[in-house]
Every structure is written in structure tokens, then in C-alpha cells.
Amino acid sequence: MSNLDLFTTRRPELGLSKLRQLDVTLVLSWAVVAIAVAWAVAPGLFTPHSGTVGIAGNQLRAPDATHWFGTDEIGRDVLARIIYGAINSLSGAVVAVVVGFIGGTSLGLIAGSVGGRLDTIIMRIVDVLLSVPGLLFQLSLIIILGFGTVNVAIAVGTTTVAGFARLMRSEVIRVRRADYVEAAFGSGGRFGAVLWRHVLPNSLGTVIAFAALQFGSAILAISTLGFLGYGAPPPTPEWGLLIAEGRNYLTTAWWMTTFPGVIVILIVLATNRISQSLRRTP
């Protein structure tokens, strides 16, 4: 889908109708994100039910007019859990991506631009980070930091630092070798200026695509940690954790894991779509 935009801008044969159709998906994506953000800001506006307190006797109800997504094992409304969980999931994913992005991109940019011995040192540190299996690192970090939404997000983010750094560095090196950048250096451009005007903007493309992937991956990684028993403590509603906890009930109550799963898929698809469209505008 990244290329939809490239195709539309660069290929005249697609025509106007195609453009309009593409904008529809973009609008839909923005709508999905807007709703999720609204859930995070004012969950009470969207559901009359509580996200944490259940009604005994109401447990494991299949979806109906009152409980659109059904209820869970202690009678909590699944939709309400999803809505109240938005703040945890979105902020968790944002924290994870920001940690990885800032840490990794700066390391990669320095290593790729400065080169030489500093490059070697940074990249060996990155190698060490990468060489410790990510999940093992995350699990250990959570045990050390303690269980909680923010700690889990930090643990997830930390393991992506190395990936960002390597990718950024390889992109910087690729761009630096491009003719026009070499020309900019050749024509007496100051290092910092060339870096800022040519290298950075041109290297960021792939890295932002990676970051977009990481946003969704972060939600999923948090979910996987929940599956392994390292999620936020109950009764915190958090999308990944809802999917993970609901899976045990799959045989009897499919809705408990399916609906949070669908929500996560929608969010991941939407953020991907948006980040690609943002990449196109300078």
C-alpha cells in the first residue's frame, strides 16, 4: 500500500476516479485513528458501561443489542474494555516507537554520517544490543523494571533501537553515495548543512516506513508479552492484553479475543496508510 501514492502521483493513466477512491481509504484511516484517539481522551462518551467493573451474572454473554461485543468472564462489557483500553494501548505504542525511533535514528545518523572509528564503536554497541534476543531482553527488562503499561512499552521500544540504528545508518550511507549528495559535498557544502538538507530528508523515508511498521508491531509485541504472562496487571484494559487473555475462552466465547483482534488490525492498517501518505508530503 505504500506505493499507492507513488503510483497515483507518478502514473497519469490511473486517472481522477482512482485518486478519489484512494482518498477514501485515507479518510477512513484518519477516521479510525480519530475515533481511537477520541476513545482515549473521553471514553465515557462512547459507552455507558465500565471498563473495569463487571456485573456478576452477566458473564460470557454473546454479543447482543446491549453488549455489542459481548461480555467477558466476570461480566464486563468487551466493547467498553476496548474503549477504555485505547489510552493504554495508544500511549504504550507511542512510547515504544518514540524510544526506539529517537534512540535508534540518532545512533544510526551519527554512525552513518561521521563514519570512521565512531561508526565502528556505535555499530558494535548496536550489535551487542541486537545480538541479545529481543524477546529475552524484553522479558528480563520487564522483570527488572516491574510490571506495568509504561514499563512494558519501554521494554518493547528498547529492543527496536538497534533495528532503527542499523537501518538509518545503511540509508544514510546509501544517500551519501548518491551523486547529488556527493556533488553537494564536492561543491563545498558544510557537513552539517549537507547532512540536514540532503542526507537526513532522503534517508528518513525508509526509516519512517519502518517506524510505521513498528507502531503496529509495538501493539502486537505488547500483546505477545501479555500472552506470555508479562502484560499490564489486571484489570487494566489494554488491547494486546484483551486479545491475549481472551484466547483462553476461544472455544466458548469467541468474541472475547476476536473483537479486540479486529480493532488492532484496523488501527495497524490505518496508521500504515496514514504514515505512507505523510511520507509523500514534505
Binding site: 467493573v53 451474572g57 468472564e73 510490571f147 496487571p233 475462552y249 466458548t252
Partner: protein, 548 residues
């Protein structure tokens, strides 16, 4: 290997010929109901891998599910009468103050390596169980109290001598932790007994092969001829083999059973029972007859040091609601510290009445007043407690979340912690981090109360001299009661003491009983006669599979 190909064959035949065979199969099943069929492999899905097969480590469900098939015990506790009946021991004598036990062994019993199961072997087993072995790392069995030494009187007679009366010992010879293994087993380091192939017992099944942590195959012992004397079935087991497969995912265990890929599964969750019964599979439930699934307070934590707070939380707990919401009819609401099926039980439900007004009044009296956010406070401290979910217990997370909701109604906050096994194990010993814990023990003898609470045993309350080196809390009266239970030779008096202990524990509000924990299994319709010992550990000695 024959067992895999035979089960593969079963499956290929089943879907294609099912329609044709349907009538004849069901007709056969009716006839077969009376007549057990020999042969076949039972596929058993276990939730967790076994850890260590030193018999006293059999308290852990997965360990006992295996140990029960490969080892025999001196006596057999009849699950209906809870009386001890002959098994490896043909008869026994106990002196009046219960300090000397003499067992006459059944002749002709051998271990699966061919060595005889004689008095020397039995003596060696109980010497290790009763005293431990520091060099090899063997801990003392929790079921055995006051053990001193053994005496081999002749090859078929062994005598055990105790430092003080040990009235629980006869029952202790029948528990899952007292399976007799070949003496050579107990000469290996404790840590190596995680390897099932090293366990040599005299049981109806023998370990054939294992993939550690994944699967274990048992095969029948053809020459087995020493089952418990008073049960109908004698001779070899009906099944040819049992295959244990570790399947941690709840949804996969239940799905595999219903899809015909497995025969028996352990730990089916209450919410899936309906699915199982709807497809005419059977739900098998057996009580563990010990200390109930209780929420236990740690009085060293200042928040719950005050008895009024503990009483208030007891009144704020609606265990009926928990049982109705989360569990099924197989999980009875608790009415005392121990289960209604346990030895020495007294009904104390009048001490466990759900009463929100009483709870609020008690908290007011204790000086805890509602704060701005609804959580009660005293001297600037919030009444906020924490509890770890207990992974081996059924639906512990849901149980405590519901309890948390109930306590919130009287202004007490209960945080349910999800933790890695390591942190949880360490934090459980710190009363400041875990003012409340979940605890239960299964054993059909009043000694079980001592097992759970005595400082040198499981030490549920974390008393001085127990697991927590910094403990200051000590209840001498309780401990004296517990010791008395473990050493009162007169059975009637012993049960009386057990009753006193239950009353005392609830009067002090040390625990909030929630439900009587069963072990719940599910089995395919063609699986017959799975039996359970007195503490819900399955035995497949009688089990047979009708043709499908």
C-alpha cells in the same frame, strides 16, 4: 512404534467409516460397558510439564499424574470411606501412642527393574522421605511428621519409629508423596529426578520414553499383580500405554479433545464444561479434600495486622457470587478452612456471612475512613492491598478481579498482580508486598491444616521461624493447636482439635475461604473408569477404552 501407529490408524478409520460403524459401535459400547476391554493407548493432555518425580514432590498436579501410575503405596485410602486399606502392605500394627508402626508387606512384589520390593527397600524410602538427605538434596516429605528411624525386622516386615506420636502416618503412607521407588533411585541426586526414565517403581505402568517438557510415554507392566487388595480389578492394567502430552494452551487442550485427537485432558476450565457436556463428553471432577482455595492474610503487614480489618474483608467477600460467576457446580462454595469432604471438617458458614454493612462498620471502628477517591484512609495511608494471581489455581486472575470489585464496595483497593514466577516467588515471602496470597493444599488428613499453616511447613501466614527471615508475627496458640493435631494419637480427639483449629483460624480471620478446589478433567465418551485417589489424582489402572 506401535502406540503412535495405532492411534493414527484410529483416526484415519474414524471419519471415513464413522457413519457405517455408528450403530454397531454404539451397540458394542453398551455390551462393553460391563466388560472392560484390554488394549489401546490413552492420550492424556497435561497443562504443564512435570518438574521432579521424587515422590514427595507429588503435590504438584503434573508430577502426581505420572507418579500415581508408576508407583504403588503401602496403603490405599478408599476415597469413599477415607479409610486406609491394604496395598503393598498386607497388614499393619500401630502402638497405642502412635510412635511405632509395623507393616507386613505383600510378598512377590518387584520393581520394574526386577529387584524385589522388600522391607529394606521400603525402609530406605521412608528414611529419605522422613529425614531428607542433605548431600543429595532430598527435602523432607511434608506428610511425614516426627520421623525417627526404620527397622527391618525380616524381609517382609518393616517397623517405623517416631520421636513423638505421629497419628497421621498411616494416612501418610497412602498419599501421592509416599510412592515407593527402587532404592537405587534415591541414591541419585535429587535434581536428576526430573528425568522420568530414572524413576523405577512397582506400579501398573512403566516409563517407556520421554521428551522432557513435551511428552512422556508409559507402557503397561504385564506381570503387575499387586493392585490395592480391596478393588475389584486385579492383574495388569487394561490399557497398553498412556501418552502424556504437555499442551499448555487451554483452547488447544479442549479443542483437541473435542476434535477426537485426545482421550483425556486435565484442567478443563469451568466455562468450557458446557461445550464438553453438550457433545456428550464427560466432565470428571474430584475433590482435593484439603485446605480450601483461601485468600490468606499476612498479619505482619500493618494494613491487615488489625483483626477488625481482616474481619471486615471477610464480611465484604461474597464467595457465592465468585463461585456462581466464574465457576461451575464442580467448585463448591467454601464453608470452612478445609473442604467439606476433608477429614475433620466443621461447617462454619455462619462465620463467613456476606454483609457489606458489617464490613463498613468494622472498618469505621478500626479508624479507616473513606477518602476523596472512595478508598479508605487512616493517618494518610490508603487501605490498598496486593495479591499475586496464582497460576496453578483455576482462574485465579478472574477470582481476584472479582474479589477486588467486591472489596471496592467497602472502600478497600485490591491490586491483582500478574508476575513472572520468579518475582512472585520472592514477593510472596514479603508481607509488605503481598498482604494477601492465594493458598490451598490437598490431603485427606487433618495434618493438612498443619501443612498449610505451621511455620516449618508451608507457613501460609509467614510466622516467625518460618520462610520469612524478618517475620515478627507469631501465633503460639495456633501453632500449639497445629502441633497437637499432628501428634494426638486418639482419632476422635484429633478430629476435635482439627475443628478447634478451623474455628480459631476463622475467628482470627486469618483466611477468607473462597471455594473447595477440585481437579477437573474431561474425557471422551469411549473412556471408562478413570478413577481418582482421595486427593483427586487420576489413576488409569482401571481405565479402558471401548472400541470406536
Amino acid at each position: 512404534m506401535s502406540l503412535i501407529s495405532s492411534s493414527a490408524l484410529r483416526r484415519t478409520v474414524q471419519p471415513t467409516l464413522a457413519a457405517v460403524l455408528l450403530t454397531s459401535v454404539s451397540a458394542m459400547a453398551v455390551i462393553a460397558q460391563d466388560q472392560p476391554v484390554t488394549g489401546g493407548t490413552l492420550v492424556y493432555l497435561e497443562q504443564q510439564a512435570h518438574t521432579n518425580l521424587y515422590p514427595p514432590a507429588g503435590g504438584f498436579y503434573p508430577n502426581s499424574g505420572i507418579l500415581n501410575q508408576i508407583t504403588d503405596k503401602l496403603t490405599w485410602q478408599n476415597p469413599e470411606t477415607l479409610q486406609n486399606e491394604p496395598w503393598l502392605a498386607a497388614s499393619w500394627e500401630i502402638n497405642t501412642d502412635a510412635t511405632e508402626y509395623t507393616f507386613k508387606l505383600r510378598p512377590g512384589v518387584t520393581f520394574s527393574d526386577g529387584t524385589p520390593l522388600d522391607a529394606a527397600a521400603v525402609a530406605k524410602n521412608f528414611d529419605v522421605f522422613g529425614l531428607g538427605n542433605k548431600e543429595l538434596g532430598y527435602p523432607v516429605a511434608e506428610a511425614i511428621n516426627n520421623y525417627d528411624h526404620s527397622e527391618v525386622i525380616d524381609p517382609q516386615t518393616v517397623k517405623f519409629v517416631f520421636k513423638a506420636p505421629a497419628p497421621g502416618f498411616l494416612q501418610a503412607t497412602s498419599v501421592i508423596g509416599s510412592g515407593i521407588v527402587a532404592p537405587s533411585v534415591l541414591e541419585q541426586p535429587y535434581a536428576e529426578l526430573g528425568d522420568a526414565t530414572k524413576i523405577i517403581g512397582s506400579g501398573a505402568f512403566v516409563v517407556d520414553s520421554e521428551v522432557l517438557g513435551q511428552s512422556l510415554n508409559l507402557k503397561v507392566r504385564e506381570d503387575y499383580a499387586w493392585g490395592p487388595a480391596n478393588i475389584e480389578h486385579q492383574g495388569r492394567a487394561y490399557l497398553d500405554a498412556i501418552q502424556y502430552i504437555v499442551t499448555p494452551e487451554d483452547s488447544v487442550r479442549i479443542g483437541a479433545l473435542l476434535a477426537g485427537q485426545a482421550d483425556v485432558i486435565r484442567q478443563i476450565q469451568a466455562y468450557d464444561e458446557g461445550q464438553v457436556e453438550a457433545q456428550s463428553y464427560s466432565v470428571l471432577s474430584a475433590p482435593t479434600r484439603g485446605v480450601n482455595n483461601n485468600a490468606v492474610f499476612r498479619p505482619d503487614n500493618p494494613l491487615v495486622a488489625d483483626i477488625k480489618v481482616r474481619q471486615a474483608l471477610t464480611a465484604a467477600t461474597n464467595s457465592a457470587e465468585i463461585v456462581q460467576t466464574i465457576f461451575s457446580s464442580h467448585y463448591p462454595q467454601a464453608t470452612s478452612v478445609i473442604a467439606s469432604t476433608a477429614a475433620g471438617y466443621v461447617d462454619l458458614s455462619d462465620k463467613l456471612v456476606f454483609d457489606l454493612e458489617k464490613a463498613k462498620a468494622l472498618l469505621d471502628e478500626a479508624g479507616w475512613v473513606p477518602g476523596a477517591d472512595g478508598v479508605r484512609e487512616k493517618d494518610g495511608v490508603k487501605l490498598e492491598l496486593s495479591v499475586y494471581e496464582s497460576l496453578p489455581q483455576p482462574q485465579s486472575r478472574a477470582t481476584f478481579q472479582l474479589l477486588s470489585q467486591q472489596w471496592a464496595q467497602v472502600g478497600v483497593k485490591l491490586n491483582v498482580l500478574a508476575g513472572d514466577a520468579g518475582s512472585a516467588a520472592v514477593d510472596r515471602l514479603d508481607p509488605l508486598k503481598t498482604p494477601v496470597v492465594s493458598a490451598m493444599v490437598g490431603r485427606a488428613d487433618p495434618d493438612v491444616i498443619k501443612s498449610n499453616f505451621y511455620p516449618s511447613n508451608r507457613d501460609a501466614l509467614l510466622q516467625k521461624g518460618g520462610l520469612n527471615p524478618n517475620a515478627t508475627f507469631e501465633d503460639a496458640k495456633l501453632n500449639d493447636l497445629l502441633l497437637a493435631i499432628a501428634s494426638e494419637p486418639d482419632n476422635a480427639k484429633r478430629l476435635e482439635l482439627a475443628g478447634e483449629a478451623q474455628v480459631y483460624i476463622l475467628d482470627q480471620a486469618y483466611v477468607i475461604p473462597i471455594f473447595e478446589e477440585p481437579q477437573v478433567f474431561a474425557a471422551a465418551p469411549y473412556v471408562h473408569d478413570v478413577s481418582f485417589d482421595a486427593v483427586a489424582r487420576p489413576s488409569f489402572y482401571n481405565t479402558w477404552l471401548s472400541p470406536r
